[in-house]
C-alpha cells in the first residue's frame, strides 16, 4: 500500500505551494473587504427596462456619490456598492436612477456604518482565537498535547488556504465568510480527530517492532474510505447550494467548499505527518537527555 507518511515531504510541499502564494497575496493586496467590514451601502435593484452598467455609474457619479462597484447579477438586476449613504443621498440616488433609466425596484438595501464593522471584525478574530484554544485544551485532555498541536496546525492550514485563495482572486469577503471559517475549523478538526482516534486505538494493539510511521500509515488507510465518503456527502450539498442557491450565500458556500476540501486533505496529509514529526523530534530530545 502507498506509504503516506514516508512521502510526507511532498504533501508539505503541495500545501506550501498553495499557502505561500496566498500569504504573499495577503501582504500585497490583502482581502477584498465587503461593506460588512468597510461600511458603505449596497443596493440591489431590478430595472424594468434594459440598462447598461456604465449608464448607472455615470448617473450616480454625476450626483457626486462615490461608487465602488456595479455588478450585474442577472438580467435587469444590478448590485450597486457605494460609500455609506444617508437617507437623503440614498433618495437622491434612487430618484436619479428612476428618472433616467425608468421604473426600478429596490430588492435589497444594506447600509453599514464604519463603527459596526470594526466590532464585527474584532469579534470574528476573538471567536477564532477562543475556539482554537478551547479545542486545543479538549484534544490535549482527551488525547495528548501533540495531537492537539498537530490538529491546530492542520486547521490553521485550512484557514490560510481559504483566506489565501479569497485574497488571490480578490473575492469579496462578507460577514458570512467569518461563519464559514469557523465552520471549516469545526469540520477540519472533526475529520482530523477521527484519524487520530484510529491511531490511538492502533497504538493500544501495537505489535512489537512495528514502526510508528507504519502504524500511522495503516491507520490512515483504514479510515480512508470514511474520509473520502464523508467529504463527498458534504460536497454534494455545497455544490447544490452553489449551483441552485441564492446569490447571497455564494461567499459562504464558496469558502466552505474550499475549506472542506482543504480540511479533508490536511487531516489525511498534514495532521498525521505533523504529529509523527513532532513525536520524532520530542523522542530525539528525550534520547539526547538520556545520553
Amino acid at each position: 500500500m502507498f506509504h503516506i507518511i514516508k512521502n510526507r515531504k511532498y504533501w508539505y510541499i503541495i500545501s506550501l505551494l498553495i499557502i505561500i502564494p496566498g500569504i504573499i497575496s495577503l501582504f500585497l493586496q490583502g482581502l477584498n473587504w465587503g461593506i460588512d467590514f468597510t461600511g458603505g451601502t449596497i443596493l440591489e435593484v431590478k430595472f424594468a427596462k434594459d440598462v447598461q452598467s456604465q449608464d448607472i455609474r455615470s448617473i450616480i457619479t454625476q450626483k457626486g456619490i462615490k461608487v465602488s462597484s456595479i455588478q450585474q447579477t442577472s438580467e435587469g438586476n444590478y448590485l450597486i456598492r457605494t460609500e455609506e449613504l444617508d437617507t437623503a443621498k440614498r433618495d437622491l440616488l434612487v430618484k436619479a436612477l428612476e428618472n433616467n433609466l425608468g421604473k426600478m425596484d429596490v430588492l435589497r438595501e444594506d447600509r453599514i456604518g464604519g463603527i459596526v464593522s470594526r466590532e464585527l471584525l474584532q469579534k470574528a478574530l476573538l471567536a477564532l482565537l477562543i475556539s482554537s484554544v478551547l479545542m486545543l485544551i479538549y484534544i490535549t485532555f482527551r488525547f495528548e498535547f501533540y495531537f492537539g498541536v498537530a490538529a491546530i496546525i492542520a486547521l490553521l492550514h485550512d484557514v490560510f488556504v481559504t483566506i489565501g485563495i479569497f485574497s488571490i482572486f480578490q473575492w469579496e469577503v462578507d460577514s458570512s465568510f467569518v461563519a464559514a471559517i469557523l465552520t471549516i475549523i469545526g469540520y477540519s478538526i472533526n475529520d482530523t480527530i477521527v484519524i487520530f482516534d484510529r491511531i490511538r486505538e492502533n497504538l493500544k494493539y501495537r505489535e512489537k517492532g512495528e514502526a510508528l510511521e507504519d502504524l500511522i500509515n495503516k491507520s490512515l488507510w483504514q479510515t480512508m474510505t470514511r474520509s473520502i465518503n464523508t467529504v463527498m456527502t458534504v460536497i454534494f450539498v455545497l455544490v447544490a447550494l452553489l449551483l441552485f442557491g441564492g446569490s447571497s450565500i455564494k461567499v459562504f458556500v464558496t469558502a466552505m467548499l474550499i475549506g472542506v476540501t482543504s480540511g479533508a486533505y490536511s487531516s489525511i496529509f498534514n495532521a498525521s505527518p505533523v504529529w509523527f514529526d513532532l513525536k520524532r523530534m520530542s523522542s530525539k530530545g528525550d534520547n539526547a537527555k538520556k545520553q
Binding site: I112, T183, G186, I189, L241
Partner: protein
C-alpha cells in the same frame, strides 16, 4: 417472534416516513410542520435597523430618555399596523428594530425616527400651543371635498391657550409647524374655543394616518440616526427561500442516493435516520421559535451532510468487523461500540466551534450557529441510538441476512 420483529421494523420505517411527510409535505389541508418556522428577514423580506441615539438640547442620553424613546417607537410601530416587530436596546445608546414582511419598510423606518415636534406659532414666532398640549390626533376624510386631513384635539390646557390666542388674533395667520417645517399657515376666521383644529393638504389617507400616528405618539426625546440598515424586498426574500429549498432538496437527494448505492442496506437505514434527524432539528427549531435564515438553511443542509458522517463511521466499522468473520449481530454491536468514542470526540470539537460562534456572532451568523449546534446534538443522538436500534431489529428479524448487503 421473527414476524414480531419484522412487524416492528417495518412499522418503524412507515412511522418515520409518515413523520417526515408531515414535517415537509403535510397532508392535504394539514399544513406541513415546516410552515410553522419563523422565517428570517432575508427570507420573507423586511428591514433590520440599528439606530444610534444622540442627545437633543436639554435631553441627554440616559436610561430614562432611552426608555421613553423606545416606548414611542413601539407606539409608532404598533399604530402603523406592523405585526411582531422586534425592538431592542443594544448597549447604552443603540436601538435595534426589526420589521418583517411590511410592504414599505423604507417608509416605516423614516416614520420611526421622525422627531415629531408639533408647534403652532404666531407670525412673530411666538409659540402658542405645542405637541405637549395635544390630546388626540386622528386622520379622516373631509366628507365634502374628499381630501385627507388630520383632526387635532387639545387637552384642557391647550384648549384654553388656543382659545385665548384665536380670540385675540382673528384675521391674522397661525403657522402649523412639524419638526420645524411649516405645514400650513391658515388665517384665523373666528375664535376657536372647542379645542379642535385640523391640518389638511395630504396626498391620501395613508399619509394623514402616518402624521396622526406621529402626533399621537409624541416627540422623540432623543435624536435617532441610522447606524446600520438592511432591507430585503419581499420578492427577493421569496426568491431566496425558493432557491435555497430547491438546492437543499437536490443536495439531500444526492446524499440519500449515495448512501444507498454505497452502503446498501445500512445506507437505506441511514436514510431513515436522516429523515428522523431532519425532523428533530426542525422540530426543536420550531419549539425554540428560532428564526430560519438563509445561512440557517445552508447550515441545516450542511449539517445533514455532516450527520451522515456518524453513520458512515459506524458502517465502515461494521464492514471491518464482518470481514473479520464476526456474526452480523456481534459485528453491529462492536461496530457501534468502537465508533461511539470517535463520534463523540469529533462532534464535541465541532460543538465547541459552534457555541463560540453563537456567543460572538450577530444576526444571521447566530442563527447559523444555533442550527449547527442543534444539528450536531441531533446527529449524535440519531446515529448512536436510532440507527443502532434499526440495524439490530433488521438483524433479528432476519429480513436482510446476506452480509453482502451490509457491504462486507
Amino acid at each position: 417472534m421473527r414476524l414480531g420483529k419484522f412487524t416492528i421494523f417495518s412499522g418503524v420505517l412507515i412511522f418515520i416516513l409518515i413523520l417526515g411527510w408531515y414535517m415537509f409535505l403535510g397532508f392535504g389541508p394539514v399544513k406541513p410542520l415546516v410552515k410553522y418556522t419563523t422565517l428570517g428577514l432575508d427570507l420573507q423580506g423586511g428591514v433590520h435597523v440599528v439606530f444610534q441615539a444622540k442627545e437633543l438640547p436639554g435631553s441627554p442620553v440616559n436610561d430614562k430618555t432611552m426608555q421613553s424613546t423606545i416606548s414611542i417607537i413601539e407606539t409608532r410601530v404598533n399604530e402603523l399596523g406592523i405585526s411582531e416587530p422586534i425592538i431592542q436596546k443594544q448597549g447604552k445608546d443603540r436601538i435595534i428594530v426589526e420589521i418583517a414582511g411590511y410592504k414599505n419598510p423604507e417608509e416605516a423606518v423614516r416614520t420611526l425616527i421622525k422627531p415629531a415636534v408639533l408647534e403652532f406659532k404666531s407670525p412673530e414666532g411666538e409659540l402658542v400651543v405645542s405637541g405637549k398640549d395635544l390630546k388626540d390626533a386622528i386622520e379622516s376624510k373631509d366628507p365634502n371635498t374628499g381630501l385627507a386631513e388630520v383632526d387635532l384635539t387639545f387637552n384642557a390646557d391647550g384648549t384654553k391657550k388656543f382659545g385665548d390666542f384665536t380670540s385675540k388674533n382673528v384675521g391674522r395667520n397661525l403657522g402649523i409647524y412639524l419638526d420645524g417645517k411649516l405645514l400650513q399657515n391658515p388665517v384665523i376666521q373666528e375664535p376657536i374655543t372647542n379645542g379642535k383644529a385640523r391640518i389638511t393638504g395630504y396626498k391620501d389617507l395613508n399619509e394623514a394616518h402616518r402624521i396622526a400616528v406621529l402626533l399621537r405618539s409624541g416627540a422623540l426625546p432623543l435624536k435617532l440616526e441610522i447606524l446600520e440598515k438592511k432591507v430585503v424586498g419581499p420578492t427577493l426574500g421569496a426568491d431566496s427561500l425558493r432557491r435555497s429549498v430547491k438546492a437543499s432538496i437536490i443536495g439531500v437527494i444526492a446524499i440519500f442516493l449515495f448512501m444507498i448505492l454505497y452502503y446498501r442496506f445500512p445506507g437505506f437505514i441511514a436514510d431513515f435516520s436522516l429523515i428522523l434527524y431532519a425532523t428533530i432539528v426542525l422540530g426543536v427549531m420550531i419549539a425554540l421559535k428560532a428564526t430560519l435564515t438563509l445561512p440557517g438553511i445552508a447550515g441545516f443542509v450542511l449539517s445533514m451532510g455532516m450527520a451522515v458522517d456518524a453513520n458512515i463511521l459506524i458502517f465502515e466499522r461494521l464492514k471491518e468487523e464482518l470481514r473479520m468473520g464476526k456474526t452480523l449481530r456481534s459485528a453491529i454491536d462492536s461496530g457501534f461500540k468502537r465508533a461511539f468514542l470517535t463520534v463523540f470526540d469529533s462532534n464535541a470539537t465541532t460543538l465547541i466551534a459552534a457555541v463560540i460562534l453563537y456567543f460572538l456572532g450577530t444576526g444571521p451568523v447566530r442563527g447559523f450557529a444555533v442550527t449547527l449546534s442543534i444539528g450536531i446534538l441531533a446527529s449524535f443522538f440519531t446515529a448512536i441510538t436510532f440507527t443502532r436500534w434499526l440495524l439490530f431489529l433488521a438483524a433479528d428479524s432476519k429480513v436482510v441476512k446476506n452480509p453482502k448487503l451490509y457491504g462486507a
